[in-house]
Chain length 134, copies 2
């Protein structure tokens, strides 16, 4: 198991916004803003089943993630990796509420659509880049 | 000619950092932090000949760019497009100095390597996303 560095972990556990790139069916890159989290090993991105990034990652698990520290734009992480697992069910529903708490300060994620099923994309980083000395 | 919106243009002309995703030879996404500029129609990214993102964009021009407003992380742009031209020579050398002025406040780009040749990647956006009302 490869642990993320403490610096990377701290940024991934902060109230920081990220951009995730997935690959479209024709192989072109598609980038979307996302909230992020980590379990210390994987980058966790919570989305809904049926969204483009979820479908893209299912077809081709290769993704890239870039994250900026909202307190300091010179602090960032870029990484490439693979979505090694997609976790749906109660774990994913609880996780989006945890994310809503972090990012919005509310107990329940307020943007659920009728019938929406949440899913956690578990990304195993293969290359991680942080600027030196962070 | 498709003009970028005033909001997009303003963000691309600001002191804002972006992430550019190119496609590796095996088709996987690769993301790197970049400075950005615009001519009103294209997104302009200045890099050096021989860098991975330059070679990737030459082989497969499909790229994605994500930019965050350094003053407000809720303001961002994501876009996908193609590198329609790579401009090297004096134009690109002058342009990196202009970028150094904007981002670093100095007249000359201070990180030139011996023998380095700068090149502007001219990206024609095909899809642009800005959050509503910005």
């Amino acid at each position: 198991m490869t642990r993320l560095s403490d610096s990377a972990r701290k940024m991934l556990e902060g109230k920081n916004f990220a951009f995730m790139t997935t690959l479209s069916p024709n192989g072109s890159p598609r980038v979307t803003p996302v909230w992020v989290d980590t379990d210390g090993e994987h980058v966790l991105i919570n989305t809904a089943i049926g969204r483009l990034k979820q479908k893209n990652a299912k077809r081709d698990p290769r993704v890239a993630v870039a994250l900026t520290d909202s307190a300091n734009p010179y602090n960032f992480i870029t990484l490439e990796g693979r979505v090694v697992e997609q976790v749906s069910g109660q774990i994913a529903e609880d996780h989006i509420d945890k994310m809503a708490k972090r990012y919005l300060g509310v107990d329940k994620y307020p943007h659920r659509q009728p019938g929406e099923r949440r899913v956690i994309l578990k990304i195993k980083p293969e290359h991680v880049f942080l600027p030196q000395s962070r």
